[in-house]
Subunit: 218 residues, 2 copies
Amino acid sequence: MLSSTEENYLKALLRIATEKDGNGEAGTNQLALKLNVKPATATDMLKKLKEKGLVEYQKYKKISLTDTGRALATGIIRKHRLWETFLFKKLGFSWDEVHDVAEQLEHIQSDKLVEQLDNFLGYPQFDPHGDMIPRANGELKSDKSVTLAETLVGTQYTIVSVTDNGPDFLQYLSQLKLGIQSVIHVLTRFDFDGSVVLKLHDHEVTVSKKVAENIYVV
Amino acid sequence: MLSSTEENYLKALLRIATEKDGNGEAGTNQLALKLNVKPATATDMLKKLKEKGLVEYQKYKKISLTDTGRALATGIIRKHRLWETFLFKKLGFSWDEVHDVAEQLEHIQSDKLVEQLDNFLGYPQFDPHGDMIPRANGELKSDKSVTLAETLVGTQYTIVSVTDNGPDFLQYLSQLKLGIQSVIHVLTRFDFDGSVVLKLHDHEVTVSKKVAENIYVV
DNA sequence: ATTGATTTTTAGACCGTGCTAACATTTTTA
DNA sequence: TAAAAATGTTAGCACGGTCTAAAAATCAAT
């Protein structure tokens, strides 16, 4: 049985491993940053997780999950996204409100609960942010397509997913009227700062490079 | 913000205060027993809760909740029972499975969550064990009627509620075909041990005094 | 290849929640 | 009412998870 804290470390490691930008290799600092703890704290926990056979770790080396560790982390992501879906679809939470509550709910221990929830929701494939929900067996097709920062000027795309970076980011998108399934037309990209100008229905919006990198389109 | 541990102490104190058998006065031992900790541990926590203004407590004296403490405890009970109802009605959990999971879910912090859940469930009045669900404002009519141990021989009653003493007890009742709304006829009470003989539909069952004290009827 | 910057680890401390052992108080009972 | 039993408290320790400060290892740049 893992503590919530341990689960959070595993989850963070999985996120780092599947992030597009990085090379999939996690370092202590990076991990600590993601969890809002000091690197020293992360080091301690890594020793413990290694002891339990959940991470591959040698001091001063990069960190990766073992198969067991990855399976557990995937299970937590699954729970997180199922709860987000529940909150959004059944309880009328908005896009940007679901994350924090799901962050708590994901640590509830009950296999039956998550399977019944999945069933209750009709075995959804995507959460409210458009992210894939892993199946019970751990399968996950993470076809994260392409980010808005990498699109071709003059082409039309549909937003399929956004990175779940907390309420501020999501509210910002909502304000811009950007959401899952929004159809956009890429008008311009400014090379000096990477910002992108889009046409959306009738109006135009400009987003920074940073924002563009967190929006996935097809 | 209270820790889960603190919440559990408040909840236990409220349960002791509203138990019929006791005199509503909680002692350290009794509290520790209910929480599966040692009395010394409970003493420490009581000091902390007193510090926070949640319990009335002087060393070697009986313990009671302050108004604030009781309000918080009631809120936790409310969450617990709403979650039980959700698990039972929406996710197909059985009577005896809901408690342990609700024990975890009751500590999730989100006012919106509990209000939306209440709404989603159609503002239920009773949980699957027949216990009253407190309203958001803390109202709770605990008309716990009368226990089977106090009934008159030769009279007919309906079971309205049972004490939630964990899966074993609930499974035992199910096995006896005793549930909420079961109609029973009290045939005999043996004075020497307080056990009760009931007629239920076609068959007769005998329950011990201990069991009878945990079944509420009208 | 050496130096300097960055990353990571170690050592020692703290807080929350639990424990045991010993002591203090209250209650029961003879 | 005095002794015995039950109940409750204190003191000191342990463990998980966190921190800071300082040392060690690795990486980057000249």
